[in-house]
């Protein structure tokens, strides 16, 4: 059993608790144990905090990192936004001595010190990594194959970009999450401009909602074209943008799509035999019923 400190962030536990619940249960079946990271906070939001003052962003993220350092466990998380804050700050503080010293000067006041002893991982990359879990193990854990469904993947931005700083290779046309979808028995479908942003990041969702959902709308048009049954992603903030965004698109632009949006952990939960109630799919703004009818 590989053990990780599970960094929750905000949107998964406070808006899509099914994704949180599914993460614990699905990963347990795949040999990954997620431990509570007591006292974790907002990562903090890279768009909002990074824009105001990068130094505050470093210090706040470092506090979360130190909590995991005290547990002597690597962090696993399920949100691209959190990945940007927690992974990138960890990486930068390890690399730049003067940044680290600046942050530790602040953390001294709360009896903490960033030492740089742990690593940070996205749960999806742990699932894909054959050393930890791997596709075969995912395939073996499936009890309700999602056969006959067409599922599109939204990668989101902050997991893989900027590619120079990350370790995922090219960001123009990745295919690894599609492979993980295929492992569940579903048919992964590709669509135009797959790597386009969901439109929520950088504080734009709060600053100019219409601008933000117009980007989402472009993605929805491309997704409609390939007749996907559902969209999956690995970021609750993208999930919120696509899920609630579809309601906002209907209000502002008068277009209705009705495309269910599921976090990959929720999808994996379904394939491992969890019921829609165990995944709190009724909390989704867009009904998952049409998709569930095909699966169950």
């Amino acid at each position: 059993m590989h053990e990780y400190a599970f960094f929750l962030g905000c949107i998964a536990p406070n808006r899509y608790p099914g994704a949180e619940s599914a993460s614990y249960k699905t990963s347990e079946k795949l040999g990954i144990k997620l431990l509570d990271l007591e006292g974790g906070s907002c990562c903090p939001a890279p768009g909002a905090f990074g824009s105001i003052d990068l130094n505050i962003w470093y210090a706040m993220a470092a506090r979360n990192l130190v909590l995991a350092e005290q547990m002597k466990k690597d962090i696993a998380l399920i949100c691209n936004g959190c990945y940007k804050s927690i992974w990138e700050v960890n990486h930068k503080l390890k690399k730049h001595k003067e940044l680290r010293e600046g942050v530790n000067e602040v953390l001294k006041g709360v009896d903490m010190e960033f030492k740089g002893t742990i690593d940070v991982w996205h749960l999806a990359e742990l699932f894909y990594d054959p050393k930890i879990c791997g596709l075969q193990k995912i395939r073996d854990s499936v009890t309700v194959p999602l056969e006959g469904t067409r599922i599109a993947v939204h990668y989101g931005c902050h997991l893989m970009k900027p590619k120079k700083e990350r370790h995922f290779g090219s960001t123009e046309h990745p295919y690894w999450i599609e492979e993980m979808v295929a492992a569940l028995g579903a048919e992964p479908v590709e669509y135009r401009n797959k790597m386009l942003c969901c439109g929520a990041g950088g504080g734009v969702r709060g600053y100019d909602l219409v601008h933000s959902i117009d980007i989402t709308n472009e993605k929805m048009i491309n997704l409609k074209e390939v007749k996907a049954d559902a969209l999956t992603e690995v970021c609750p903030f993208c999930q919120l943008q696509f899920d609630r965004g579809q309601i906002e698109i209907e209000e502002k632009f008068g277009v209705k799509y009705g495309l269910p949006v599921l976090h990959y952990c929720e999808l994996l939960g379904l394939a491992q035999g969890m019921s829609p109630q165990e995944l709190a799919l009724d909390l989704h703004a867009v009904s998952c019923e049409p998709f569930l009818e095909k699966v169950l």
């Binding site: 406070n14 006292g39 909002a48 602040v106 006041g109």
Partner: protein, 193 residues
């Protein structure tokens, strides 16, 4: 105010956009942006790959290439007072495709930092700060969600600062260290009364 270089009026008007006045340039601005962003806008040859990759460009007047040029020319006021500065979704597509190895997204982030120092910042950013100061979360828990969590067999409060509120003090210390909460309160009050 329309500035002139002494040409006939019609020509003056036509050229207004293309003029650069030396007194509007601040070489320090270029330097500060490079320091904060840890990238190199002065290497830009204005190919426009960034704007072409930008999800915000087709639906607004936001042009990331223009901001990189402004960074290079040291046009501080023009950069920081432009409302388009806040339309970057930080998707990093421009950064991944830049043939000169510049990170235009980080140039924008540096400019936003400098704008915030002058209190030029949209209110929604500050409201996130206020929420985090009180609860530790930018998107806090609510009753509907608590009920749903209970049904799932989870604790109604997640094991974060919600479940362990004693940790909020540390967050408040960090934000107060930078004086951010007071600034956020002041600016939000000024804007919204």
């Amino acid at each position: 105010m329309q500035r002139t270089k002494g040409y006939p009026e019609a020509l003056d008007k036509k050229l207004a956009d293309t003029r650069l006045f030396e007194d509007e340039r601040h070489p320090d601005f270029t330097k500060t942006v490079e320091e904060i962003s840890m990238t190199i806008p002065h290497m830009c040859y204005q190919c426009g790959t960034c704007t072409a990759s930008c999800p915000s460009a087709p639906r607004s007047s936001y042009r990331i290439r223009k901001f990189v040029r402004r960074a290079l020319l040291g046009l501080e006021d023009e950069s920081l007072t432009d409302p388009d500065l806040w339309l970057c979704t930080t998707c990093y597509s421009c950064t991944d495709r830049c043939p000169r190895d510049i990170a235009p997204t980080d140039v924008i982030m540096a400019m936003r930092n400098l704008a915030a120092r002058r209190d030029i910042i949209p209110v929604n950013f500050l409201k996130t700060v206020q929420a985090i100061y009180t609860t530790g979360h930018g998107v806090p828990n609510n009753d509907v969600n608590r009920a749903a969590r209970k049904k799932l067999g989870l604790n109604p409060e997640p094991p974060t600062t919600h479940g362990f509120p004693q940790y909020v003090k540390g967050i408040q210390y960090i934000l107060d260290y930078f004086g951010l909460k007071d600034r956020a309160d002041r600016i939000v009050k000024e804007r919204e009364g």
